[in-house]
Symmetry: none
Subunit: 204 residues, 4 copies
DNA sequence: AATGAATGAGACTTCATTCAT
DNA sequence: CATGAATGAAGTCTCATTCAT
């Protein structure tokens, strides 16, 4: 077990170094030597833990997804989510400001997705899981209120786009609007839309 | 004049080839040799027209911005815009489906912005110009209706994020929702929000 | 004849431009495009006058030799030279300060001589001609005075080295000693040596 | 320690190969591939030890200066120098014949100095250090003999020029005069001048 | 004679990967 | 496990030269 710990500690060192560098300069501009220097490990040492540069990249991707999951899903308990439809939005807006480097990495991977089907697949799978969870929550919520749950694909897509847009906005445009204010504003935009939808769409 | 035409024709050839390749594989994965092959020109010939690989990239960026401008701004006449607040949205959604490679390039440049201040500056300047135009239109429109025009910074940022989100969604997630449907849905989301804002915020 | 003049004027333009650039940056660092720009001529135009980059270089070499000849030989009339053994030294020291770029070019060609036998041959031939002329003058002078003229090869070589050294010193070390002072100093060094030689070496 | 040795051994291999080639063909005509072939190392291996082609060049420059220092300074013990003013001249003339490639490199660097201030600075610093040492020796020597030491700047410059001239003469003109003979001749030229100077210039 | 666009060989440099120690 | 020297492929860029107009 000590072994395993050392292994995973080393891996973490490397992944963190890679993340930091990639968020600053981009992945293509980050060399293995850079990562080694920052992680304080030799080139050969790195090779023991990661077969490839790609191997590191996927580890970074997993870590990014994991961190995003923690922020958006794990931090919002089921009960909260059910009682307050804005809880997710709150968690999202909180994270958006406190962890810009995370969103830079997401933007980076999203861009890479264009020519890397493997990355695309992984990312889409994650977003799909978010979406499913969201849907499940809605259904449960609506069930409780005895209202039929209906959410069209277009609606789901649109909501996802809005989420991505906020990420892109903060990662790329460096929006100065503070997260709390943005949260209020986004609530004004989204809540009526969501409620209007569930109320008015008996058939989609 | 023949000379000038030849110059610009060649430049166009090269820029188009570069765009096509970059939209497919990404810029870093596109070699100068690839561009030359696709543009049917020799390496040295390319050098005559572009100093650098970067020089090509900026030409591509300008072309992308130009195309986006045409789609979003030029195609919506002033009159239309004033009479129909959804005209812009319409133009946007139209373009989103017909020209995915354009949005891939934008996603690419957005991602590059993270570590290339020069690209970031150019892109932000363009988005700011879009935003200004939008604001001007709103003011004019509201003036006519004798209603005070108020749009908070947060609102403007949010709307810009939504736009970026749609781009990112289509460029990266390959959304299958057809553009017309998405337009309808986006209208449901945005129009109430916009009108609510202008109605309810006498002072921001 | 007009034709010939135009030709030679163009050639001069080009050679002068090439000299200026080579004296500043060195020959290898001077591109044909640079020369064209400075000579205000197109690449193709240059080709009409010079077959090669080498062709230009040899034209420069000839011009340099010509200028040096003018300074060292032509400017010292035969009579002067015979009456005053320091006349040559004077001409030399004069030129050394007034035309440093000339000496830079000589240093450049001297250095190139190492790997370019053709340049070496041309330069050595010129220096040999200088040497011969010097010797002839000495003989004539000595004959008049009824003293046997003897100058060993070693002596000739040494004197040539001193000359080269002054060139190198000014071209490379940027000596600050004014030419007049250097002339005085060199006279103190050389004149006794020359006279001592001719007096004391009845047989070499 | 093994590591360090390997590093410096490899560096030496590379520097020596570079020197040999540069002395033959000139630096600009020496490609990195050539150096690699001669040093029996791969391109990437070379990069490990030298960042740049320039980096190699400066290592060569340092080596050249080091070798020159050894020949001219280290080989002449202080005692010798003080007792025999010709010792330095002797060392110099000895070296001039036995190590022509060294002088070719010096000529090369001198020529490069024209357009490379960094090289110029390094070389001038070395020659200045030679000059200082020379001056210090003279002062000590003269002190012992109770004669005032006076050496004008012009005199120092002239002597340095003579030294450079001998280098240039052998490096460039391929003088055939054997070193011993040249030494005798140079002594005839210089010794009277030096002694005359120190005797006759109570105030300069 | 003149123009300058086009060519393509070749140089420099970077870097992911391998491997002996 | 770890080190870092070594490899060599691949990419970018420069530039002398050619050639159609």
């Amino acid at each position: 077990m000590g072994r395993i710990n050392i292994r995973s500690i080393r891996r973490q060192q490397i992944v963190h170094a890679a993340e930091e560098l990639a968020a600053q300069r981009g992945w293509a501009e980050t060399t293995i030597a850079d990562i080694c220097k920052k992680a304080d490990i030799s080139v050969g040492g790195l090779t023991h833990h990661f077969k490839d540069k790609d191997d590191i990249m996927f580890a970074v991707l997993e870590d990014v997804i994991h961190r995003l999951h923690d922020r958006l899903v794990a931090s919002v308990s089921k009960e909260e989510a059910q009682q307050n439809p804005g809880a997710f939005l709150h968690a999202f807006c909180q994270s958006i400001e406190s962890d810009r480097s995370l969103y830079r990495l997401i933007l980076h991977f999203a861009s890479s997705s264009i020519h890397r089907p493997d990355i695309k697949q992984r990312l889409k799978a994650f977003f799909a899981s978010l979406h499913q969870r969201d849907e499940a929550q809605c259904q449960e919520q609506e069930k409780r209120k005895d209202k039929p749950y209906i959410r069209s694909q277009a609606m789901a897509d649109l909501l996802q786009c809005v989420g991505l847009g906020l990420i892109l906005g903060y990662a790329f445009l460096d929006l100065q609007t503070p997260a709390e204010q943005m949260e209020v504003e986004a609530a004004k935009l989204l809540l009526p839309y969501i409620q209007y939808q569930s109320a008015s769409s008996p058939q989609s």
